[in-house]
């Protein structure tokens, strides 16, 4: 059966969260994370800080599928970019405050994710990656053809950033960052809730042993579709904030390279770690920003090399490796005190 092909990525069995009760450091880490979040635009250029958070949530949405459901989506650019365009169109034509527009974009992503998910979950493993990639490319072509709506190669330019007439947020990207960050945090919270819910446990079961999950009476395909739609909604949220932040949506957002880049961010952060996505995004976005500002042109050479290296040598990712080291240390200490 095809179930045999379902991705068995080498993630540790579900201990999904640093916030679980078993982690004594959970409040310290949560507090530390929030401090970094607040201070980030002081350290780096605020739009870049916003990019990090957007890509972080985007990677978390991919991890929700890859790490917790065992599905590698190679077409998530469809939801990120689809929402970027939809958000931009809503903001341009209706003049609503941008959180509303972003919400509209995320809902649009979930709407297109349903048929794509419905078709794609019929194949598992590597086929799922190929099918989602093909559907994303189809959306790319549609966006390219619908020039009247999307502006074709020029993209959607000058997306307004209206926010209840508060000019500080509308004009200054430093203050905009905090509103955007709040929206991203909502997305991260949703992902965390999903993973740590009974629903999330079923997803893990589907990942680890689909045949058994089915035997226990769970409709495996339906759970996969639901996870896919939720993930698309999160990717859409991230893409919408991204479009508002740049006040621009382009075909680049829908390209297959974007789908690949977010998988890179996810793997670099650590598959099945959830929080790793934010760390991976921090590294990749800062690196790209640094390379672009230093005038280096072959960014693909660098990202490609990173990809090859982490897949060959560093499969647990930054977060996964850190967690394993800490856990091993804790285990060793416990064993020593017992002796």
């Amino acid at each position: 059966m095809s179930e045999q092909m379902t991705a068995k990525v080498d993630v540790d069995l579900a201990q999904p969260s640093i916030l679980s009760r078993r982690n004594p450091l959970r409040y310290v880490m949560l507090l530390g994370g929030l401090v970094v979040l607040v201070l980030l635009p002081y350290w780096i250029y605020p739009p870049v800080a916003m990019d990090i958070l957007c890509w972080g949530l985007f990677a978390i949405s991919v991890d929700l599928l890859l790490g917790f459901t065992g599905l590698l989506s190679f077409g998530h650019a469809a939801f990120w970019g689809g929402s970027a365009y939809c958000t931009g169109l809503i903001a341009t034509h209706f003049g609503v405050p941008f959180p509303v527009a972003v919400l509209g974009g995320a809902v649009f992503s979930m709407l297109i994710a349903w048929p794509i998910g419905y078709l794609s979950v019929r194949r598992t493993g590597i086929y799922f990656a190929m099918v989602t990639l093909a559907f994303a490319q189809m959306l790319y072509f549609i966006a390219n053809q619908a020039r009247d709506l999307t502006g074709g190669e020029n993209g959607l330019q000058g997306i307004p950033r209206s926010f209840f007439g508060i000019e500080l947020v509308e004009e200054d990207s430093f203050y905009f960052y905090y509103v955007g960050a709040a929206m991203i945090l909502v997305g991260v919270f949703v992902a965390w809730r999903v993973v740590n819910s009974p629903f999330g446990r079923v997803l893990t079961a589907v990942r680890d042993n689909p045949a058994r999950a089915r035997a226990l009476g769970y409709d495996v395909e339906r759970f996969k579709i639901k996870a896919f739609v939720i993930s698309a909604g999160l990717a859409g949220l991230a893409g919408g904030v991204f479009a508002i932040s740049h006040q621009f949506a382009s075909l680049q957002e829908l390209m297959w390279t974007t789908s690949g880049k977010v998988v890179l961010v996810t793997v670099l952060g650590g598959i099945g770690t959830l929080w790793g996505g934010l760390v991976g995004a921090g590294v990749v976005v800062t690196l790209e920003d640094f390379l672009a500002s230093s005038g280096f042109e072959g960014i693909g050479l660098i990202t490609g090399t990173i990809f090859v290296l982490i897949v060959l040598l560093f499969r647990h990712g930054i977060w996964g490796t850190g967690r394993n080291v800490l856990r091993k240390y804790a285990l060793d200490r416990r064993r020593r005190t017992r002796d």
Binding site: I126, M130, Q145, W256, G304, V311, R315
Partner: protein, 289 residues
């Protein structure tokens, strides 16, 4: 009517490129269980190498048709030995990601070295011009490309079904454990098969060089359509890859001719239909997948 025949021929010629490459993809998947994302980049390399051979060493099309697959075979062997090999024991997703990274590197490297504008290449002497059959004008090169890829596909088919090596390769595709138990060293065939699949992609690149724009990005869309081809045909099936390759080429050509706005979307609609009606592909068997 004459136009229809022309489009059909163009479709079959384009389908030949798809069929050859999909064949390589299917053979590699069959024996190694690896979906090679860099297949499109290898197709691009095949075309770029033949253009560079022509420009710098004045090596013509016919020689390139022989030399480039050999070079690409070497490239494939290196790739398998140095990179792909280490991830074979793991989930196929990792090799998919590895070859994706490799694609980024290859495309960017070619872009940096040869720029973004197309490299020049002419239709080889003797294959230029058109033939008229009745009222229909057909490009000689398109006929050649179509026939040539058919012959190569048939040749590979014969190789797989009629020779001892082919039998071993098929056996290790379908039941590696049992093949090993019969005293055959399956591992010995892994590297050459990988190289062979890459060589086929390179060959498709050489064939495409005279008619398509030779750029670093020429393989990017190609690989995604190739994935659609193997999903339609069923990745486990050699015959499926070839038939679906020609089918997609035809669909694309008719799309460009009769509904240019939707031309590129039609292929994916076809794929969606196949996934809906026959998820394992037209010729696929679920066990192999």
């Amino acid at each position: 009517m004459s136009e229809f025949i022309q489009y059909t021929l163009q479709g079959l010629a384009a389908g030949g490129f798809y069929a050859l490459s999909a064949l390589g993809l299917a053979v590699i998947f069959g024996v190694l269980g690896v979906v090679n994302f860099s297949h499109g980049a290898c197709y691009m390399l095949g075309a770029v190498i033949s253009a560079v051979l022509l420009a710098e060493l004045h090596v013509g099309f016919w020689v390139a048709l022989l030399v480039v697959p050999v070079l690409m075979f070497g490239f494939g062997v290196l790739m398998e030995r140095l990179l792909v090999r280490w991830l074979l024991a793991l989930d196929p997703l990792y090799n998919f990601l590895l070859t994706f990274g490799l694609t980024l590197i290859l495309v960017e490297a070619v872009k940096q070295r040869y720029g973004v504008s197309g490299l020049p290449y002419q239709v080889p002497a003797g294959l230029g011009g058109q033939v008229s059959i009745g009222s229909v004008n057909l490009s000689v090169y398109a006929i050649f490309a179509c026939l040539f890829s058919l012959v190569v596909c048939a040749g590979v088919g014969l190789l797989l079904t009629k020779t001892r090596i082919g039998m071993i390769v098929r056996a290790s595709t379908e039941a590696p454990e049992r093949t090993r138990a019969l005293g055959i060293n399956v591992g010995r065939f892994v590297t050459p098969v990988f190289g062979f699949g890459i060589a086929l992609a390179g060959l498709a690149g050489v064939l495409a060089a005279p008619t398509r724009a030779i750029t670093a990005e020429m393989g990017s869309n190609f690989i995604i359509i190739l994935f659609a081809v193997v999903v339609i045909g069923g990745l486990g099936s050699i015959l499926g890859a070839v038939v679906a390759g020609f089918l997609v080429g035809l669909v694309e050509a008719y799309g460009i001719a009769y509904a240019p706005t939707y031309a590129q979307i039609v292929i994916f609609v076809l794929m969606a239909l196949v996934v809906l009606v026959r998820p394992s592909g037209l010729f696929g068997r679920e066990e192999v997948a």
